[in-house]
């Protein structure tokens, strides 16, 4: 595949040949398919094939176009607006009219209804699993935070039964999510939020059938009983190993304006090996696409500006950056260091210690050492938390991050904090992909500043339990971990790299960071949603400035998206999806038998 992948789609793609088995291979996570939990790539990319949302994205050959980042109707007949009876002048009440003919693959097939979406929202707020995107919903939708808090108080997280969970859901409502009838859903917001349409395109905002009430969210039982309203259904799922999707006979193309569903089957195999091994497998024809590992097509042009210019650690952080989001490809925060300030080492509650860590890490060296392990294009040093081509753009005031490491200054700060003799921290990481290399690299940097790091490798399940799902506060056995984050949506996305990570109790705030000033700034930024872009950006920049000043996390690496991706010779019709980390839309692809001989 070449750069032609981002050229306008050839006419032939409008009626591509159907059939074949699309094969993905790589080290990406493949643990939980429950839509209530899935909010980002890569798992969300397959969830949307069997679980539809009110709105979603239409595949576009060129991901730089505005159409690629603007949600379009999915199960909803239209994106609510003032002119289609869907959005009042207050911009706090959205009315979704559901598309007729969308069916669950039940026996007999049953229509997807507005109450199914209400159930989906309730499940998302369950106390057992922790959707990383939940904060967007609880901060925007009227009554959703109250529902979540009440749910958590009423049903214990550990040992909760499906019956307990369903009983709470049946007895309680989210005040701002209700069905007028089977075909009409109302979602009320606490404040005007034009971004909410993008939030509703996340896979965790899927409808949920009544059958799900019989299972604990995210459980093996649920995964054995997944229902589909999309073009594919789960035929076989071995968590962490294998997923096989087959066509869903209850799905009809006429009821789905977005998903083309060209191939007959999709098979995902999780395998060991880094990007080079995955690339070799694709090039050898043993796989069609990478699973998770970002791999750019070998002949693709190098990314502009941000991907190369920032490899110099000496460049001023406040230098001009690439153009605004929506006109260029959104970069990702490929790695940042999260502190467990809730129940980790006492020392981490001292901002001087966190700043010492930030001073000690050599981001440029990290980028070089991990280049071959984190996929393509190569990551580059991050100078702030919000990557290029996302909102907010840089404030122009700098971020206070040093361009190069300063172990001496770090030691001095540690001494000020009472750790002149050093301290010891525990860092956890998932034992796959490039994570071990990243962990070893930053641990070595910290050692040079007098911070001993005990590295603990965890499998996916253990990592999820320790870092992502266990509520901060209880002993979780870690002090540091490197995380990554891509943009959950592209247009007007000032919240995505800040709110879920740093607001108190937020769904991706794994370290339990809490600062009333940050919370107030986040609220102010959310309330600025109706203000002109400059004011909105300024409000989010203020959040970023505060969390960086407080060393709430340490940005490590940015990465440009792999566009076009490395693809097998028979793959056609690729459409990178910006909100999915620019992974190809699996429903848009088709397989060219002639390509097998190429």
């Amino acid at each position: 595949m070449t750069a032609a992948a981002v050229a306008p789609r050839p006419a032939a793609v409008d009626a591509p040949p159907a059939g074949g088995t699309l094969r993905l291979h790589g080290p990406g996570a493949l643990d939980r398919l429950d839509p209530a939990v899935a909010a980002g790539p890569p798992v969300a990319d397959v969830v949307r094939l069997f679980s539809r949302q009110l709105v979603t994205y239409e595949p576009q050959a060129d991901p730089r176009t505005w159409q690629a980042v603007a949600p379009v109707p999915d199960v909803a007949v239209a994106v609510p607006s003032t002119y289609n009876m869907g959005l009042g002048a207050s911009h706090r009440s959205y009315v979704f009219h559901l598309r007729p003919g969308v069916l669950w693959d039940t026996s007999p097939p049953r229509p997807v209804t507005a109450p199914d979406f209400v159930r989906g929202f309730k499940r998302m707020a369950n106390p057992v699993t922790r959707s990383p995107a939940l904060t967007y919903f609880t901060s925007a939708i009227r009554g959703m935070e109250e529902f979540r808090a009440g749910f958590a108080a009423a049903v214990p997280r550990d040992g909760a039964t499906a019956a307990q969970l369903a009983a709470y859901q049946d007895a309680h409502e989210i005040a701002g999510v209700f069905a007028l009838d089977d075909e009409t859903l109302v979602i009320e917001l606490v404040r005007p939020s034009p971004e909410v349409v993008s939030v509703l395109a996340l896979t965790c905002a899927s409808a949920a059938p009544a059958e799900y009430d019989a299972f604990v969210p995210g459980s093996p039982e649920l995964h054995r009983n997944l229902r589909s309203n999309g073009p594919y259904r789960v035929a076989r799922f071995a968590p962490g190993a294998e997923l096989r999707l087959e066509r869903n006979p209850a799905w009809h193309r006429a009821t789905d304006p977005v998903r083309r569903a060209n191939v007959d089957r999709i098979e995902i195999a999780c395998g060991e090996g880094g990007p080079a091994a995955v690339a070799a497998r694709i090039d050898a024809g043993a796989a069609d696409l990478p699973w998770s590992s970002p791999l750019r097509a070998p002949s693709a042009p190098r990314p502009a500006a941000a991907g190369t210019a920032w490899s110099s650690p000496h460049r001023a952080p406040s230098a001009p950056r690439p153009a605004a989001a929506g006109t260029a490809l959104s970069h990702a925060l490929a790695a940042y260091l999260a502190f467990n300030v809730a129940d980790g080492a006492e020392a981490l509650r001292d901002v001087r210690v966190r700043r010492a860590v930030a001073l000690a890490v050599d981001r440029a060296a990290l980028a070089e050492r991990c280049a071959a392990l984190l996929g393509e294009p190569a990551p580059y040093p991050a100078d702030r938390l919000v990557p290029p081509h996302n909102d907010p753009g840089p404030s122009g005031e700098g971020t206070g991050l040093p361009p190069s490491p300063d172990p001496g200054a770090a030691r001095s700060l540690l001494a000020d904090a009472g750790y002149a003799d050093g301290l010891s921290l525990t860092a956890v990481y998932r034992d796959r992909d490039g994570e071990p290399a990243v962990a070893r690299a930053y641990a070595a940097d910290l050692e040079r500043a007098g911070i001993g790091v005990r590295l603990v490798a965890l499998d996916d399940d253990a990592y999820r339990r320790a870092v992502l799902e266990a509520p901060p506060g209880g002993p979780r056995g870690w002090d540091l971990t490197a995380r990554s984050r891509g943009a959950d949506w592209i247009h007007r996305n000032g919240a995505v790299f800040l709110q879920p990570l740093f607001a108190t109790g937020a769904s991706a705030n794994c370290g339990g960071y809490s600062d009333p000033e940050v919370d107030a700034l986040v609220l102010r930024a959310l309330e600025a949603a109706v203000e002109p872009r400059a004011k909105r950006d300024a409000a989010w920049c203020e959040v970023e400035r505060r969390v960086l000043d407080d060393a709430a996390a340490v940005p490590l690496l940015f990465q440009a998206p792999a566009v076009p991706r490395r693809r097998g010779a028979r793959v056609r019709g690729a459409c990178p999806m910006p909100a999915s980390g620019y992974a190809d839309d699996l429903a848009a692809l088709w397989l060219d038998p002639a390509g097998e001989d190429a």
Binding site: M85, A89, R142, G176, D181, E188, P532
Partner: protein, 442 residues
């Protein structure tokens, strides 16, 4: 005549018009009904959205269109509409230089809002009960120039008073406030806003007033000048019953201290072929004598439909013939009749329109027609009711949507808006049909 708007001097009697005999002043309402091009058997209770044109207005539009089709006449001078603007101005107690014939109220409001001399940090106060055109254009200024837009939600319901509304605005004014924007009559709840009191409030604070007067022409017999407002953007196709695509814009162009002693606000004629290509306009007047015809600067903007201007003027001429004072009394009486019938059937608690304070009553009455309170936020029922009334019973009303203070829900109402082409029997029948259907949907 309402208490909130001030009566104009009776306009000079116009010359007889085609199809509008002198006897119209004394004609029965049954005769007046016969002047309108209405669908037989239909009950049109939706003049708040669009009125019905008189046959004479349709004919005038057709005649002028034919007259100007294929000719080699100079189209530019006539599209200044000097006679038509003068005729309309007389009807509303103002002068020609203060009147512009626009394409609709939205165009008028957009030209005013975008022509205001506002800058970053200036604050505008408006209400959530404004037409989209008001809120969208102020939002445009917010995004373009960095103004601050403060949107108030006015109270609604039978017991609302004018004092509550004025107090709401007064409490919102700050040192940064530059503009008060509100409707003369809100299209969602039919609230006759206390226009004069709000303009006096604005004047006490040195503020510009921008009024959406879409429902004013053809309904109220009033002096636009006496409101004390700076700008009033009106529709020509609602109560004035001109063709679709007609509007009237009032721009204060003189200083009458008894009405508004403030200096004239700067307005930039953003759509104009008359604004100087070099240099600028003369200074604005500080007296009751205009310094220049600001109406011309706004009016002259390339070619225009002469037929639409002529037809709107014809409608205004007919209103003058019938008597604007008489029309106002009749429409308000029909509105009161509708209000009483609605109160009988649905009760005060169903009302979103004011009632207790007579100053706030207009002929537009908005209410929840359904048995359950929560159906007031069910757009589907409101829509179905309106569609079925039209399709199955030929009763034309409108559903409206608005915020209610303290409620998180978007509210929806049925709104009836009678005009002189309605009568009591139609209103009774229309509301009875509506009540039956609403009960079925409840």
């Amino acid at each position: 005549m309402t208490q909130t708007l001030t009566r104009a001097q009776p306009p000079a009697r116009p010359s007889p018009a085609d199809g509008a005999p002198r006897s119209l002043r004394d004609a029965s309402w049954e005769t007046v009904k016969g002047l309108f091009a209405l669908e037989p058997g239909a009950i049109h209770l939706n003049t708040g959205t669009v009125g019905a044109m008189p046959h004479a207005v349709v004919d005038e539009h057709d005649r002028v269109t034919r007259e100007w089709t294929g000719g080699l006449m100079d189209v530019y001078q006539p599209t200044q509409f000097p006679e038509y603007r003068a005729l309309i101005a007389r009807a509303y107690g103002v002068d020609r230089d203060e009147i512009v014939i626009t394409h609709n109220a939205t165009e008028g409001i957009a030209r005013v809002i975008n022509g205001l001399d506002l800058h970053a940090g200036d604050e505008v106060i408006a209400t959530s009960h404004e037409c989209y055109s008001v809120l969208s254009n102020f939002n445009l200024l917010r995004n373009r120039h960095g103004i601050s837009l403060k949107v108030l939600t006015p109270p609604s319901g039978y017991g609302v008073t004018a004092e509550e509304i004025v107090a709401l605005f007064e409490q919102a004014i700050t040192a940064r406030t530059r503009v008060l924007a509100f409707s003369a009559i809100t299209l969602w709840t039919g609230t006759m806003m206390p226009v004069r009191a709000l303009c006096e409030l604005a004047q006490r604070h040195g503020l510009i007033t921008v009024i959406d007067g879409a429902l004013v022409p053809g309904l109220l017999h009033c002096s636009l000048r006496a409101t004390g407002a700076d700008f009033i953007a009106c529709s020509g196709s609602k109560y004035q019953c001109g063709p679709l695509g007609t509007g009237i814009l009032y721009v204060r162009n003189k200083v009458f201290p008894e009405h508004n002693p403030l200096p004239l606000p700067t307005v930039w004629p953003v759509i104009s072929t008359w604004y100087p290509m070099v240099g600028d306009t003369p200074p604005r007047s500080t007296t009751s004598v205009e310094s220049y015809d600001v109406g011309d600067y706004l009016q002259i903007a390339g070619s225009a439909s002469i037929a639409r201007g002529a037809a709107l003027a014809k409608a205004c001429e007919m209103w003058d013939e019938i008597g604007r004072d008489r029309i106002e009394r009749r429409v308000f009486e029909l509105g009161e009749h509708a209000r009483e019938r609605i109160l009988e059937r649905f009760g005060e608690e169903a009302m979103f329109s004011p009632g207790a304070d007579a100053r706030l009553r207009s002929p537009l009455v908005a209410f929840n027609p359904f048995r359950r309170r929560e159906d007031a936020w069910n757009v589907k029922k409101a829509h179905e009711l309106t569609m079925r009334l039209a399709d199955e019973h030929k009763v034309w009303i409108r559903w409206t949507e608005f915020d209610v203070p303290g409620s998180p829900h978007q509210h929806y109402a049925a709104r009836v808006a009678p005009h002189v082409f309605n009568d009591h029997e139609q209103i009774d029948r229309g509301i009875a049909t509506l009540a039956r259907l609403a009960e079925e949907l409840s």
